[in-house]
Symmetry: C2
Subunit: 414 residues, 2 copies
Amino acid sequence: MYQLLSGLSLIEVSSFVASPTAGLYCAQMGAEVIRVDQIGGGLDYDRYQLTTEGRSLSWENLNRAKKSVALDMRTAKGRELVQELAAKTGQLITNVPEKSFLNHAALKAAREDIITARIMGWGDGRQAMDFTVNAASGYPLMTGPAEWDADTAPPVNQLLPAWDFICGAYTAFALLAALRHRDMTGEGSELRIPLGDVAIGTVANSGAMAEMLYRGSDRERLGNAIWGAFGRDFMSRDGKRFMVAALTSKQWAGLVEAFDIAPQVAAIEAAHNVEFAQSDHNRFTHRDELFAVFQGVADTLDYDVMAERLARAGTTFERYRTMHEAANDRVLVDDNPLFGQSPKNPSGFRYPAPGPFANMPQRERGAPHSAPYLGADSEEILAERLGLGTGAIGKLIDEGVVATSDADTLGTRS
Amino acid sequence: MYQLLSGLSLIEVSSFVASPTAGLYCAQMGAEVIRVDQIGGGLDYDRYQLTTEGRSLSWENLNRAKKSVALDMRTAKGRELVQELAAKTGQLITNVPEKSFLNHAALKAAREDIITARIMGWGDGRQAMDFTVNAASGYPLMTGPAEWDADTAPPVNQLLPAWDFICGAYTAFALLAALRHRDMTGEGSELRIPLGDVAIGTVANSGAMAEMLYRGSDRERLGNAIWGAFGRDFMSRDGKRFMVAALTSKQWAGLVEAFDIAPQVAAIEAAHNVEFAQSDHNRFTHRDELFAVFQGVADTLDYDVMAERLARAGTTFERYRTMHEAANDRVLVDDNPLFGQSPKNPSGFRYPAPGPFANMPQRERGAPHSAPYLGADSEEILAERLGLGTGAIGKLIDEGVVATSDADTLGTRS
């Protein structure tokens, strides 16, 4: 953890992926992120993968370095405590609907300059999730093998909940932008970030929407080939699959060298009266002939030989790994300073845990933190943030409004 | 555009997707983002889709609301001007390698408290792109139809450059975190954000890495079914494909109502002695039997009827659209306040353009801005930021170190 956000406290009332991610990034940069959950866990507390004891490996990775307060938000008192916490800290990340006790106006009444960052489904209020905004985006019907018939090909969902992760990072950015504005002007902000707008807005930002409108039709299905440049997956003699890509003249020259195909490439250039060295466009247009030449060489070489040649020529390539392989990869994980051995996960399972994506050579990264047990910080936060005494907190616990650490109970809801 | 970042200026020396996205998000929040490019355009200036005149629809969407300075960075004077601009503004977003004239130490020598945010390939310095880190992540070998044989199934690349977009948003976040730290302490920061770490770190943050290590093997291929919960694509009688998902008890109840399948669901519950209302786990475990019941109903209904029932029951669902359909969708685009008619794109092509993803009900969103012509702001920025006079700038133009707007030339490089 770096301490760039040291001194910043925020409340997170959150579930699933996007909203917890926004809090995670802030926590990994040194902010005090206080996640408030329903006693026994919110909607995401038992998301797969579960350990045999019922602890969610999803939850314990999306909530590292945070503090946890557990309240019964079905009671008026519990809801009041969350509102007070948000007002005291001054900033809230949430995916709870605007039509709830955490609506911006209610919080603003308690603190004029509050900042709320609220992740929504669609901008018009309809529910949405990563899976459903993805269906609307157009990507699933462009994904999959090039040889599939365009009229009957099924949609292929991306497995990465990409919209959630983009939305989470953007929300952390927008929150800091609003903080900067408040530092300058004293004004609070209400930010609403619809997951659906992140999706369709990204289609537009990438240029793909303009492309569809300009062409007046969909893009042809390309399988794993890169749109508008040279790149695809190939298979080595020993059956290893790898991706190569060339977006620059230098990268292209490296590929021609590594595959040792200068004469074949020259022959294709001559046949079509084009040159490939300087032109993404030409390399893309004649990709099928080029792909055949590349695969022809790959057919004759084992991957280790191929990889050595690709690395020596300074190309951009990567072997496809299964995720289990990736998780056990020395270079990707064990020797990567992004990861440290995580301390005391709630699950009791030990495995490498990541710190912040940003690497700051002049600062100490420190070890990654674990997620809290649910409610582990309830007493501390209520005392420090709201000034409640031991007696008052004890009473709230006795009444069932507040719960303390669930370390000795299973993570599943009753 | 909102003005949360009003008063902030930054230099962007950038290409492709991740790095321009970081600048885009800042520009859409009111920062002055000065993109500096090689005269004639950098490596990404002619990325697909190109118009018939050679203007890139990718470039003009990833660079909205920015200013453009065109310099010959192959000359010492051109490089010096970029270094001076970075030192004057105090912050730089780039994906230029650390081993270049834009290395942090050189810039810090010119300005002690400078902040640089540098997007890299892999953390250890090897080249990488979205396509190659994706191959390493494990996702492509989990993607595609469930019925594919695990031993021979090809990788399926996601078409969305998701790692680039996550990395871009994260970089914008990290830059603002460093700005906040400088505001508090006066200290600058060097941030390096490896695209590869964004990918493998996200695999870890999602819990999927812990899942692989806990299970000791890969996850089974699920096609479009949601991992650990209920959801999949179905097809209506009239051949429309749609995604439905239920992650909560309420959403599940809505689906059972919309599909009118309470008796069939009860029969499956009785046969296995389980209940579905409260358990993602049970709904996932028995998904195949449930999917058959759902598809059986979908077989009998046209999509419009199905959608009306799904909406009335408050479920989360979405029809798959092609991207061309999405781009022409009234609800997604034309009636969506995220979009405005874009003014004067460099391509001359007019189409809806998005503003910032965040919606701020209390502030004026304003119309989206267009991207600049390359070099359109060279003279203004050199005069205002570096205090150069008309004569000095004219001399730099005559020498070919500086270029002005390419409005009257094609966007392609010579």
